[in-house]
């Protein structure tokens, strides 16, 4: 493939594509980052920016834990506008069943060397006085954090650029394969590897890839400094976020550095339009108010939607495609793409360069899905 102008062409300049570009460039590869829009303006700009360790599966825990550590290592280099804050996550238990889950979760994390702290009702109330009274307690994961995803994506892309990466922004990609990216104007980019990092749009470029759009809503308030201090997530989130069939909402709020409060979350399959769905928005805000009644008196500034790239087993797809050895995949991150972007980039480029990855890659390999069409 000596004719190729690039070692790697990455399609999709969200945080995952930008992180991959940075990692490729860091290892001396010739990289081009391609996007139909700009850097970090799709799902990256729609998401909360919660850097969180999650334990839905061993593989999810391993990837989120690895990625969180990579963010922590990068922390001192992040510019101010990335707004990285290690505010911690509190998983809030509203009843005895959820408090039992706090205990299970604490043991699970401890067995994997992630420090957490069980909070009783009184301590929880001291830490977050605007939660309604009557909560049973919670689990504080103090090394979790938040950041502002569009600026984090821009930071990664700029890093890549400083190391020689090129950008091709504003032209949509028609197809990828056989070592090339074909753009809508008919021009072609040749590369040894083409990475599909197009998020929920990835199946348009890799037909048969089992990724569905999962729509979400977020609301941001005016500035109310100190109203909430940690990222707060209801433990019932585990029940609602993982129901794969129906629409769901969960209490999930985040303090921003400006004093604003980011309020989520909703999950919907089969909703392909960007418009705000006022029915589910009302459910989401009612849920939030049930946990923090003071939210009802706040004024909101903006509401928006975005599309998560959801896989059937809730794990991203990272590695070589099964049908074309030039095409690699880095997508399917659902609601964890901001957290897992850095880990994804490392695992992807480790595989490309034959390095030993730090965590087992098998759970994320595209071959596990095995449903891509074989192109002639």
């Amino acid at each position: 493939m000596s004719a190729a102008a690039y070692d790697v062409a990455i399609v999709g300049a969200g945080i995952v594509g930008a992180a991959c570009a940075q990692e490729c460039a860091r290892r001396g590869m010739r990289v081009i980052l391609v996007d139909r829009d700009a850097i970090g303006v799709g799902a990256t700009a729609a998401g909360m920016g919660h850097i969180v360790v999650m334990d839905d599966s061993e593989a999810q825990f391993a990837l989120t834990c690895y990625s969180r550590r990579l963010w922590q290592e990068l922390r001192s280099e992040l510019p101010d506008d990335v707004e990285y804050e290690q505010c911690g996550t509190i998983w809030v238990a509203a009843d005895d069943e959820e408090m039992a889950e706090v205990g299970r979760k604490q043991h699970y994390y401890a067995a994997r060397n992630v420090a957490t702290e069980v909070l009783d009702a009184q301590v929880l109330n001291t830490l977050e006085p605007n939660l309604r009274s009557g909560m049973k307690g919670g689990l504080l994961v103090s090394e979790d954090g938040v950041l502002y995803p569009p600026c984090a994506a821009r930071f990664c892309a700029q890093r890549a650029q400083e190391l020689g990466a090129k950008f091709r922004l504003g032209d949509s990609v028609q197809l990828i394969g056989q070592g090339q990216v074909v753009l809508s104007d008919g021009s072609e980019i040749r590369a040894e590897f083409v990475v599909n990092a197009a998020g929920a749009s990835a199946p348009a470029l890799t037909p048969g890839l089992d990724i569905k759009k999962r729509k979400g809503h977020l609301v941001i308030t005016d500035r109310y400094p100190g109203f909430v201090r940690h990222q707060l997530v209801e433990l019932g989130y585990l029940k609602s976020a993982h129901s794969v069939s129906s629409d769901s909402v969960a209490f999930n709020v985040q303090p921003r550095r400006t004093g604003q409060v980011l309020i989520g979350s909703s999950r919907q399959y089969g909703a392909e339009h960007r418009e705000v769905d006022h029915g589910i928005l009302a459910q989401m805000l009612k849920r939030a108010q049930a946990y923090m009644p003071g939210l009802a008196r706040m004024s909101t500034v903006r509401t928006w939607t975005g599309f998560r790239a959801a896989t059937p087993d809730k794990l991203p797809v990272i590695g070589p495609s099964t049908f074309d050895k030039s095409v690699w995949l880095a997508t399917g991150h659902e609601g964890l793409g901001i957290t897992t972007s850095l880990g994804t980039a490392r695992l992807l480029v480790d595989q490309m360069t034959g390095m030993q990855p730090e965590i087992p890659i098998e759970p994320y390999l595209p071959s596990r899905v095995g449903k891509e069409h074989v192109h002639a």
Binding site: D222, R223, Y224, P225, T258, G259, R297, M298, S299
Partner: protein, 80 residues
């Protein structure tokens, strides 16, 4: 004209009935709110559109002071 007294950041100010809170803030020499960077802000459009005049009135943050009339004893504070 009937008048009343209210406080803006603790500064007592006497206004006539029908005066907006934004005007009271100006008379008291107090900013309506502070920007994220800490710069003082005051009423710009005067018709409830620009949100530059937000103030905390009787404990409620982000009230558009140009749209709210003064009441006796009102506690008005600069938004942060």
């Amino acid at each position: 004209m009937p008048s009343m007294t209210l406080t803006v950041n603790g500064v007592a100010v006497e206004v006539e009935t029908g005066t907006t809170v934004a005007v009271a803030a100006i008379l008291a020499g107090q900013p309506c709110r502070l920007s994220v960077g800490g710069a003082p802000r005051g009423p710009l459009c005067g018709m409830g559109i620009c949100f530059e005049c937000r103030m905390t009135i009787n404990g409620k943050a982000h009230c558009r002071s140009c749209q709210i009339l003064c009441e006796p004893g009102m506690d008005v504070r600069t938004d942060d």
